[in-house]
Subunit: 488 residues, 2 copies
């Protein structure tokens, strides 16, 4: 069989596309920049959603749903916000089509009085609603999350990592005090970090964005950043402290317990289907997708092998006992008993689609009371005893989860550098890439100069402040080293 | 406390709005026809989603996600389909805003080459993708479902029942044979019937639509129809046999096992947030919302009552033992220990929001080893023994589910009439409303005449064919009685 997946070393970008195609995760759609998420990709997203949703509910949040459309005038109410999103808006201007000779045309008589924007994010429509919901301190906090699709008119798109339409969750909370809002912003950053590391096995750095990289309308943007196999960084989630910006724009005040009227404090935070791209680029290899067991829609696939009808019956019976045992242990198991594909073909398919463990069972395994167990991450195969198989698999799945995290952590650590001079910085970024810690004077001018000259941006200012020093570019005082990388 | 909910007998439509407001299910939004689904409403929808999603997966379906936008030219490919949806389309024409003196304006330079339609339903974009996925009979069947938002530019809207944007699921399946596709259409109708009756406790009639009420592009539309408390019918779900219409429009052929190339057979089926409106209008009363226990986000609420600090401590401890017992039984229980609201206020709130069972616990209940148990549906209150409370509640929740179904069934049966003449038909529809079985000659002209003269439409042609007869209007032969009603 010809190899269907390009090697990473040969063409990283093609490798990424090949992995997605062979694992049947997503397709490009005829609508520029929009993707079709296929069942395998969507099942992965569903598992991510379920885990995150549980964590949001545990931290006191409820789900709600706000309109897809935002009146154009709403966007303008927060000055920085509209500036950030105006250039990438899908605008609805008409409400009807009419038949013409060769198809349909937009009916000019259906022009809307006010244009509607397909939400790029929902702060404005949500804070308009919060105005009606908040009167007194008793109505606070409001802790709401929304699972939704959003649209940003991106020109350069890539499956999962940057698409015009994407699926995400956006949390929007309202608080009586600044302290509470900052606490919430940090709590949700920690939820994202935990999810990335414990479910996705994807180590991340945390910190805050510089002013120029901040969310449009935020006072402070916290983020989690990871490093992918091509040594480029990926912003994987953000949590924003919005101050009173949106409360002021939408006039949302509350009566405090002392009777005064004050503006409400806000946060918003989100992660998206971009995480699927991050997961792919963190763990996958030249054979295809690798999925951490905790998120794998199928954790174990069983491939029965037979030649005669009698063998088939016996092998399938043997497989049934395994399935039963694994289901008892809440392991997500699937039997691949398709008759029009041979075992080798199935092995390649399951490898490409990233199922963490494969069991193969042939007539000889029945005789010897064995099975063949193959790990997707290491590609190791072992003949193991049928007795105690369930427990062994349970343990192995846990081990794979740990190993994937450790190996990603090792890779990222090896590719995280600290430099003292701009010369060294340029050398490292060109020759190695990766994360680079370096001193910076805190000015947007220097940040811009570095970006222009090296294509590297400040991914975040770490929260655990380090030593003071001097900016590698200007020699001016620097409060701490910050984290640079080229990024997606 | 002034009564906040209008009586049904006084103003049914106002009652519906009041129930939604007091139960905090949804709000009107500033975008005409779009609603904000508040946490209480969304939690109800989440429970419906979860139950339906489980039923879809049990019947072999997988979830996927297709683009929000449909190129204008796609809609035109199926002639009836575009005719059905052209007049209610949100059309995206531009991709940017630009700043002007008093805000932002659509940037005329960002006009799209081809306009995009916000999906009113996804047959076209999905069948375009299926063309790439289907080559051989081995690729069939495709059994896919999508949870999504859709937009239909409705002029007259009503919260949940008819909104411009709504949430729904749409199943889209592809089959090798007509028989298989028809079987699938009927299977999903049965899933909807089961869900409506067993989860929503909402009895439905099933049947097929007449040609004039068929889905745009379908060969046959099956439906479930219920009757609401104002004796108007509601179409609650539809399952369409699409024949080869979309396969032909998008040129989707497969190679059969005999080697011939044939068009693929299709179905689609959907239910939406409209179901929430149906649920409200089936069970609720003049005190507010009534939710069947199987779908209730909170099944039991506990209201502790105390005067002194010591009482508070003891009562809350007593409540904790109840909560523990109920959680063991997988009952969704909530403690309402808010200190700034009195018990009477809480009772009214929980009644309005439809929680099936309320437990009140005061100091005297501790002494007597009792609790007060109140049923939301019957408004019955009883002092019951603390011993065996968990089991009693489990039993009562099941009983409420049954009673709600039975009482809705009784109401619908009492309001289902059979008539022999058009005179009688007009009398019944004007004086009583409800469902009416009557003979019809099968022509669109007669159907139209009845609609014009009585505002009643044919809700469905029942699947279990009845006796032949003569059309009540024209006297022409009729194959069976069909079901009429005025409807939402």
């Amino acid at each position: 069989m010809a190899k269907k997946i390009t090697d990473r070393s040969e063409d990283y970008s093609q490798w990424y596309q090949d992995v997605i195609r062979e694992a049947k995760l997503a397709d490009h759609s005829p609508v520029r920049g929009c993707m079709v998420i296929r069942p395998n990709g969507y099942a992965l997203w569903e598992n991510m959603k379920e885990a995150l949703d549980g964590m949001f509910k545990e931290t006191g949040h409820e789900n709600a749903y706000f309109p897809l459309f935002i009146p154009k005038s709403f966007l303008s109410k927060e000055a920085q916000h509209v500036e950030g999103f105006a250039k990438e808006c899908a605008v609805v201007t008409h409400s009807r089509l009419k038949s013409v000779d060769d198809g349909v045309e937009v009916d000019p008589d259906s022009r809307l009085e006010e244009e509607l924007i397909v939400r790029p994010t929902s702060e404005t429509i949500i804070w308009d609603a919060y105005r009606n919901w908040i009167q007194s301190y008793r109505d606070l906090p409001i802790l709401i999350n929304q699972w939704a699709n959003v649209v940003r008119w991106e020109m350069r798109t890539r499956l999962f990592l940057r698409t015009m339409e994407f699926l995400w969750q956006e949390g929007h909370t309202a608080h009586a005090t600044k302290e509470e809002a900052v606490e919430e912003t940090e709590r949700m950053l920690e939820v994202y970090r935990t999810f990335a590391e414990e479910y996705m096995a994807m180590p991340v750095k945390t910190g805050v964005k510089t002013e120029s990289e901040r969310f449009a309308g935020a006072v402070e943007t916290y983020c989690i950043e990871t490093l992918l196999q091509d040594n480029k960084a990926l912003q994987a989630g953000t949590s924003h402290f919005l101050g009173q910006n949106f409360a002021k724009a939408f006039d949302v005040k509350f009566q405090s317990s002392e009777g005064s009227h004050e503006y409400v404090w806000a946060t918003s935070w989100g992660v998206s289907t971009r995480l699927v791209g991050g997961l792919i680029m963190t763990h996958s290899d030249d054979q295809g997708l690798v999925i951490p067991p905790r998120l794998a829609p199928t954790q174990v696939v069983i491939v029965p092998i037979w030649k005669s009808d009698e063998q088939q019956e016996n092998v399938l019976e043997y497989c049934d006992t395994i399935i039963e045992e694994l289901k008892e242990l809440d392991i997500r198991v699937k039997l691949d008993d398709r008759e029009n594909y041979n075992p080798g073909w199935k092995f390649a398919e399951h490898e490409a689609s990233g199922i963490p463990l494969r069991i193969a069972v042939g007539p000889r395994d029945l005789e010897n009371h064995n099975v063949e167990l193959a790990r997707r991450d290491t590609l190791e195969k072992n003949i193991v005893d049928r007795d105690g198989l369930g427990e062994r698999i349970e343990k192995t799945l846990k081990q794979i989860q740990i190993d994937l995290y450790d190996s990603a952590k090792k890779r990222i650590d090896e590719n995280t550098h600290t430099v003292d001079s701009y010369e060294e910085f340029k050398e490292v970024i060109d020759e190695k890439g990766g994360f680079i810690y370096a001193h910076w004077d805190g000015s947007s001018e220097t940040e811009e100069k570095i970006k222009d000259e090296t294509k590297a941006t400040i991914r975040c200012i770490p929260l655990n402040e380090g030593e003071e020093g001097k900016c590698m570019v200007t020699g001016k005082p620097s409060r701490q080293k910050v984290l640079f990388a080229r990024s997606y």
